[in-house]
């Protein structure tokens, strides 16, 4: 039986993924990195180094300021040359640590042979608490995009039966998970095995969309005739398959109750990138200091890069050969949910650097966005994976009627952008619903605070 979730769209024909999944992952190590102390949307850290300090690769440089953040480590060895204070778009202040390395690391580096990249290793020596502690120390957060600290997911008191490993990569253009599964299959399987141990789960499903059949068969080959409680599932290609709620619905045919985490129905969802990072932490002894980033779209050589955390976006674009379109729109993440970080002509002006949850850097040709009146075709309602009526919430938000937004369950929006994608009137439904959702949460927080 095919596994489906409610709603969803087919945003592309697959030609966008071919841009970047034909060449192997390239290594790129910059001379200097800018490590932001805000690695995920709501996770802030405090820097524990000062300007002038010498750090070596893997040293702890940031500790969590509160719930929702994880440790940050130096991704290259060198000297801390600067600590910049910046504010995000919501006005919250955080620091950015700049590290410059002395020697040219790129040239003289032989990768040591890692055992866990070549075969399934025995993990019986690790206890559950030990693995969770290592997740915490290694600064492991969700590498798929949300960036929620993984150890918090595993410290749940709920009984966990199944682990779902998200290899769906439903966003168009991005191929970093695909390439990771292709080149680091053993590390991922070992990581998944560690996840099962950490949650004391019965079984893990690695969920892969059917546009990545090749890696699904590779992974199947790896686990065949070994007695691992892991199964590879091939799901029909559909956006937003990779949303944790949608994945739970598609695989386990079960809805996660509103306002709770998937652990409420006995499951935890992790990205394949997180599984690889866990194997690196526990089996390789290296904290999260690098990740694979897809650089694609209107650049000369679209490719996947293995880069240290903190690599500047401008350098990555230059490494890929620069823009090929006149005026470009640079997007951090995928085309459906990513943030636009620059619209312009010069790649040098791009701000920001790779964070632990940056899955891609996408360059698209800039286009004009104009909205026209809603014609009530109902497409948004049909594709909404949460079952909302986006056009009604859109009207309510424009009218400023936040109570009506709440009655229409704007809080259940997962901000996937499917509604804006299908809208023939090109209305920015997802943007306004997300705005309404954040406003409702802000009001609720204020009320509970008083």
């Amino acid at each position: 039986m095919k596994k489906y979730f409610h709603g969803g769209i087919h945003p592309s024909d697959g030609s966008d993924k071919i841009l970047s999944n034909q060449v192997p992952i390239r290594m790129y190590t910059p001379q200097s990195v800018e490590i932001s102390m805000k690695q995920s949307p709501n996770g802030f850290c405090n820097a524990v180094v000062k300007v002038g300090d010498n750090v070596s690769k893997g040293d702890l440089i940031g500790i969590p300021r509160g719930f929702g953040a994880a440790n940050i480590h130096a991704s290259i060895g060198g000297t801390v040359t600067d600590i910049i204070k910046t504010k995000d778009n919501q006005g919250r202040e955080f620091e950015t640590v700049v590290i410059r390395s002395e020697e040219n690391e790129n040239a003289a580096k032989d990768l040591p042979d890692k055992e866990y990249e070549k075969k399934i290793v025995d993990i019986t020596s690790f206890s559950r608490d030990e693995i969770i502690k290592k997740m915490d120390e290694g600064g492991l957060i969700g590498m798929g995009g949300a960036g929620f600290p993984t150890h918090i997911k595993y410290e749940t008191k709920d009984e966990i039966n199944y682990i779902l490993i998200n290899g769906a990569e439903c966003e168009p253009y991005l191929t970093c998970d695909h390439m990771l599964m292709k080149e680091h299959g053993y590390a991922i399987i070992n990581g998944v095995h560690l996840f099962i141990k950490a949650a004391n789960a019965k079984k893990a499903y690695i969920c892969i969309e059917d546009n990545k059949q090749d890696v699904a068969h590779e992974l199947k080959k790896i686990i065949s005739d070994k007695e691992l409680p892991i199964e590879i599932l091939i799901l029909p290609t559909r956006y937003p398959q990779g949303g944790e709620r949608q994945l739970t619905e598609a695989v386990l045919r079960k809805e996660v109750p509103a306002g709770s985490l998937p652990s409420a129905v006995g499951t935890i969802i992790n990205n394949v990138g997180t599984a690889k990072a866990l194997a690196d932490i526990v089996l390789g002894g290296e904290p999260v200091i690098s990740r694979v980033v897809t650089v694609t779209g209107k650049v000369k050589n679209p490719c996947n890069y293995l880069v240290p955390i903190g690599t500047r976006y401008s350098e990555l674009i230059q490494e890929s050969g620069g823009f090929t379109a006149e005026i470009c729109r640079v997007i951090e993440g995928g085309p459906m949910t990513g943030n636009c970080i620059m619209i312009g002509k010069e790649p040098e002006k791009i701000m920001g650097s790779v964070a632990k949850n940056t899955s891609g850097l996408l360059v698209l040709e800039d286009f004009e966005k104009t909205e026209s009146p809603c014609i009530r075709c109902g497409e948004c309602e049909r594709v909404c994976p949460a079952g909302l009526a986006p056009y009604k919430i859109d009207f309510a938000e424009i009218e400023g009627d936040i109570n009506l937004c709440e009655k229409l369950y704007a809080t259940e929006c997962i901000s996937c952008g499917s509604c804006s994608y299908v809208c023939p009137a090109k209305r920015e439904l997802a943007y306004r619903i997300t705005k309404a959702k954040n406003e409702i949460f802000r009001i609720r927080r204020e009320r509970s605070g008083k």
Partner: protein, 322 residues
Amino acid sequence: MKLKFVERLHGVSPHITMDRSTKEIMQDVVIALTPAFLGSIYFFGINALILVLTAVTTCVLSEYVWQKIRREKLTVGDWSAVVTGMLLAFNVPATTPIWAVMVASVFAIIVVKQFFGGIGSNFANPALMGRALLLFLWPSTISGYVTTYHAGTDAISSATVLGLYKSGAQITEYSKWDMFIGNIPGCLGETSKLLLLIGFAYLCYRRVVNMAAAGAYILTVLLVTFIFSNEGLFQGDILTNLLSGGLILGACYMMTDYASVAPRVKVTLAVIAGLVTAGIRLWGKLPEGVSYGILVANCLSGLVDSIIKPHIYGVNVRKNKV
């Protein structure tokens, strides 16, 4: 118009959108109506052409003039007024005076569409409201049904097949095949079921409309008229009911209308419209009930939409483990 055009957002996600706009949808509907339009010229002659062109021009002009006077953003370019004009002309017989079509068009666009907020905000189908206006104020203007050119003689006035059927007369003049291809007296666009269905197939292929609502409407009407027919229980003439009136035109192009039929509950509303239509056909004074049936569904649209609650992901779901 604060509600319709707000601040310009340039850099917000998603950064890709589907390759389809309001204008393209409306153009698709016009393309789908074109076979039936050409058919109406073939069956009813130059009058059909004049009426359709009058209706379309009046609709587009009145929308343009209204928006110019009100200094609103012009939406004439989206072709929706063209669709309204064509459907309006399709709903009147060939003998309708030109002035009547013009009045109906102005009423449809200005009162039914623009008074309620323009495209997407009309509470009922503008074309049907235009027809209803004529039926109320000047019933004689749109009751002069004539035979087609190809029925053997010159155009002479004649009752519609549905009218004959209702009065209990035997229908010997027209074969079922005539009814299907459109060689019968009736409104301009409703007679040729073949050409309407060709257009509808195109709309379904382009995924502009969903077949479910049209199907539910037709099935309800046929089922009810079959069970409670004038000849006795379970004696109704299914094919005559299906092919003689405006059932197919209404089901394919008006029941599937976007704004006036709430999208999520389209099928429920189609069943309601079907019951009303069948009721009028069986027990009403008029022989035909399609336009009123659909207008009733239009008026109930908001109510039904609020009564039938959607299922929201994760709301009212019990917490139990898998």
